[in-house]
């Protein structure tokens, strides 16, 4: 028996050593090979090996030392079991629930934008970030919430750091919500502008979802999977029909919109969809997008293993100096802001303190669901990076550089890109546009179209044929747009409730969720908030993503910093000071990144980076009576200046939220250290065996 176990451990140790060597070798190839394309399989294999090792060793270390997960302690799911919200759930089933809730558009868009610096910086940050920051945050917040009856992040911060810190966090959460909705809506607008095929298929999801809603309401109540299968078939049919719409001049004309028109349509849609009863449109669309999202992630993973594309983008490009056309600013701090989701995403702290902690059957499951779930998201981010860097760099920059840099024609674009040192001809640009069934690929910024072309090229190698490239492109656009729209309407509802809460503290009746006045006023305010930033992004000469994505990244990292500062305080209150470095390390890094990035966005001399410098540039020129492109009148100029001041104010707000939380965190930590016993506000220990677990 002992010998068998002994040889088993030895064998298992050898296995882990072998895996570590494989991972190191693959990463070596990825990092050191120069001059010829590296195959994506090296990158994927390195990521899988490194993430597996991190899960096996680091997450177990955290579970055993800092958290001391206790299998005998009853979780809220057992103590408060009601068969509805609180239900002890199988760990793998709950893993699926949690992953579906955390994986969104963020891990797909960020890595695509970061690819302008080459594939290496993004890869290294995703791997290091997820192991030491992102997965740590998700796991510890899930742990804290599970020990506090599934309370939300804002509530927990209020409890452990005091009311002021709690209110500050709530304001921060509302601000990130508004920016998130604006930037995601902008991604969809950029993907659908001047694209009748894409616009038709995405518009078709509205009647399809309504049909599913009615089906599940009256025809076959509650038959989710059945309705979703029918919806999926209709979606695929709408992609096929979209091709015919785009081919027919009259129909194509009816579905061709420019960015401004699409922005107004999005704003109207967001308002209506979030006010209607949820069963009608919002829920069925959510079902479709959730299943399509998971399915497509699986398909993409399989396709990458089957096709094994070469990475065309160099490991590092010249744009690590901060002069890149996709977004401006140096590698530090802006790479760490651009890739938020996939490496570390503050938003996950809201999910980890949402429904998941109420369903944890045993504390030890927190490791798989919290840490493991985030590792899966990092893997999705790596796949997005592969899809973007497997494209020819010339195509990548043609799609992601703003029109102001590329000019309006394939000739001017090819010339501009060739000057950066990437070979591309005008014919190749037109040819690619034809293949994917679009009129142009120039300045299709926002990440979604780039990812769609990358995915289409990979999937086309698996299922090829005449016109299949265009089908796959529009499939990928639909997949991204569908779950972004779900986030927009559901997020608008969440924002509405937050605003109703705030309004309710001024005039109590506005708080009632059933009150139509409160509902409409709060929804209008929420939509106006993100609609303002969306519209500003659409008319922005540098394409909007350039401005809004860094703001979103800063907001998301700010929230992560808040969550990790809170986690530090909790560990100190629990008298686990020896292990506090596990969270203090990523917390420090995120505070440094968010403060530096906000500071540069505020005060950098380069108007491409600093909001205030850019506002002054326009205000001064307007004062001299000059008109700077793309503004056409002095009033335009003043609006650009105002918008830049507004962005600056938002940056200032994010910075203030971080600093205030840091101050209150340090205060709470010092107070806890003066106390000789644990002061963490956990629900008292109840033995699992006494509640039927």
């Amino acid at each position: 028996m002992t010998t068998a176990m002994g040889s088993n451990t030895l064998l298992s140790k050898l296995g882990w050593v072998a895996l570590a060597l494989v991972g190191a070798a693959c990463l070596g190839v990825v990092a050191l090979k120069r001059g010829e394309p590296v195959n994506a399989i090296w990158l994927v294999a390195a990521a899988v090996a490194i993430l597996t090792i991190a899960y096996r060793f680091y997450s177990r270390y955290i579970a055993d030392t800092a958290l001391q997960l206790d299998p005998t302690r009853a979780t809220p799911a057992w103590r408060r079991n009601d068969g509805l919200d609180f239900v002890p759930t199988n760990r793998w089933v709950l893993f699926g629930h949690h992953f579906a809730a955390i994986a969104g558009a963020g891990p797909l868009v960020g890595p695509v934008l970061a690819a302008q610096m080459g594939y290496l910086p993004g890869t290294l940050w995703i791997l290091a970030g997820v192991i030491f920051a992102g997965a740590v945050q998700d796991m510890i917040i899930l742990f804290c919430s599970t020990r506090r009856d599934g309370r939300s992040l804002g509530d927990m911060i209020r409890g452990e750091l005091g009311n002021t810190a709690g209110t500050t966090a709530m304001i921060g959460i509302l601000a990130i919500m508004i920016i998130l909705l604006a930037v995601l809506a902008l991604v969809v607008v950029k993907a659908l502008a001047e694209s009748p095929w894409g616009t038709f298929t995405v518009a078709a999801t509205i009647p399809i979802a309504i049909f599913m809603g009615c089906y599940m309401r009256w025809l076959r109540p509650g038959k989710i999977l059945e309705a979703s299968m029918i919806g999926l078939v209709l979606l695929l049919a709408s992609i096929w029909a979209g091709g015919h719409v785009a081919a027919d001049p009259a129909w194509a004309n009816a579905f061709t919109f420019n960015g401004r028109q699409l922005a107004w349509l999005m704003i109207a849609y967001g308002f209506v969809a979030s006010v209607l009863p949820v069963w009608f449109l919002l829920a069925p669309r959510d079902y479709l997008s959730t299943f399509l999202k998971i399915g497509t992630i699986v398909i993409l993973a399989l396709a990458i293993f089957l096709v094994r594309p070469d990475l065309q983008m160099p490991a590092l490009t010249r744009f690590i100096d901060g002069s890149g056309p996709v977004w401006s600013g140096g590698l530090f701090p802006f790479l760490f802001i651009t890739i938020a989701c996939g490496a570390v995403s503050g938003f996950h702290a809201l999910i980890s303190s949402g429904t998941t902690p109420k369903m944890i059957a045993n504390e030890t499951d927190i490791r798989l669901i919290g840490y493991g779930g985030m590792l899966m998201e990092a893997f999705v981010a790596i796949m997005a990076l592969v899809a973007a860097t497997a494209l020819q760099p010339g195509i990548y920059f043609a799609m992601n550089a703003p029109a102001a840099v590329l000019g309006g024609t394939v000739e001017s674009a090819a010339q501009a890109i060739s000057q950066w040192g990437f070979v591309i001809t005008p014919e190749m640009l037109s040819q690619t546009a034809r293949e994917i069934g679009e009129t142009t690929i120039l300045s299709r910024t926002g990440g979604a179209p780039t990812l769609a072309v990358g995915m289409a090229q990979i999937l086309h190698n698996v299922i090829s044929g005449d016109g299949m490239m265009a089908f796959w492109y529009h499939y990928a656009i639909l997949f991204e747009a569908l779950f972004i729209l779900t986030t927009v309407d559901a997020g608008t509802r969440v924002g509405r409730f937050m605003i109703q809460d705030l309004l309710g503290s001024v005039h109590a009746p506005l708080r009632h969720t059933e009150s139509w006045t409160g509902n409409l006023i709060a929804t209008a305010l929420c939509v106006a908030g993100w609609g303002w930033f969306l519209y500003q992004g659409v008319v922005d000469p540098l394409g909007g993503i350039n401005t809004l994505w860094p703001l979103f990244g800063i907001a998301n990292q700010m929230l992560a910093a808040l969550a990790l500062i809170f986690a530090c305080v909790v560990l100190i209150k629990m008298k686990r000071d020896r292990h506090v470095w596990i969270v203090a390390l990523p917390a420090t890094w995120l505070v440094i990144c968010t403060i530096t990035a906000s500071w540069q966005k505020l005060f950098h001399d380069n108007p491409k980076i600093g909001f205030i410098a850019n506002a002054r540039r326009f205000a001064d020129a307007a004062g001299r009576g000059e008109i700077l492109a793309p503004a056409k009148t002095v009033a335009d100029m003043q609006r650009v200046a105002f918008n830049n001041y507004l962005d600056a104010a938002l940056c200032g707000l994010f910075m203030t939220v971080v600093i205030v939380t840091l101050v209150f965190g340090i205060r709470a930590a010092l107070a806890a250290r003066r106390n000789s016993s644990s002061t963490a506000q956990e629900t008292p220990y109840v033995a699992a065996s006494t509640v039927g677990a």
């Binding site: 079991n81 009601d82 068969g83 509805l84 919200d85 239900v87 759930t89 199988n90 793998w92 089933v93 709950l94 699926g96 629930h97 579906a100 809730a101 955390i102 994986a103 969104g104 558009a105 963020g106 939300s152 998130l180 995601l184 599940m216 109540p221 509650g222 989710i224 999977l225 949820v278 069963w279 919002l282 829920a283 959510d286 079902y287 959730t290 299943f291 998971i294 938020a340 989701c341 995403s345 938003f347 996950h348 809201l350 999910i351 949402g354 429904t355 369903m359 779900t486 986030t487 559901a490 997020g491 509802r493 969440v494 409730f497 937050m498 969720t513 979103f552 998301n556």
Partner: protein
Amino acid sequence: MNRPAARAALSALGTALRGFWRSLNETARLAVGVPDYGTYLRHHAAQHPDTPPLSYEAFFADRLEARYGRGRSRCC
């Protein structure tokens, strides 16, 4: 392999596949916020035997409201 053994192996495989399909179903439904109705019924029968449980339709509607109700965040 003799016939009864083959039949036993087949039926074991069938049970395993059915179990796998059931948990796949349960995972998919929970991914969109609808927990297992059977678990709810068992819980209700054990804890509140004196009151009738929600019908499946009412259970589904209740979970729908909970998923999109106050304060449920969605991720980026």
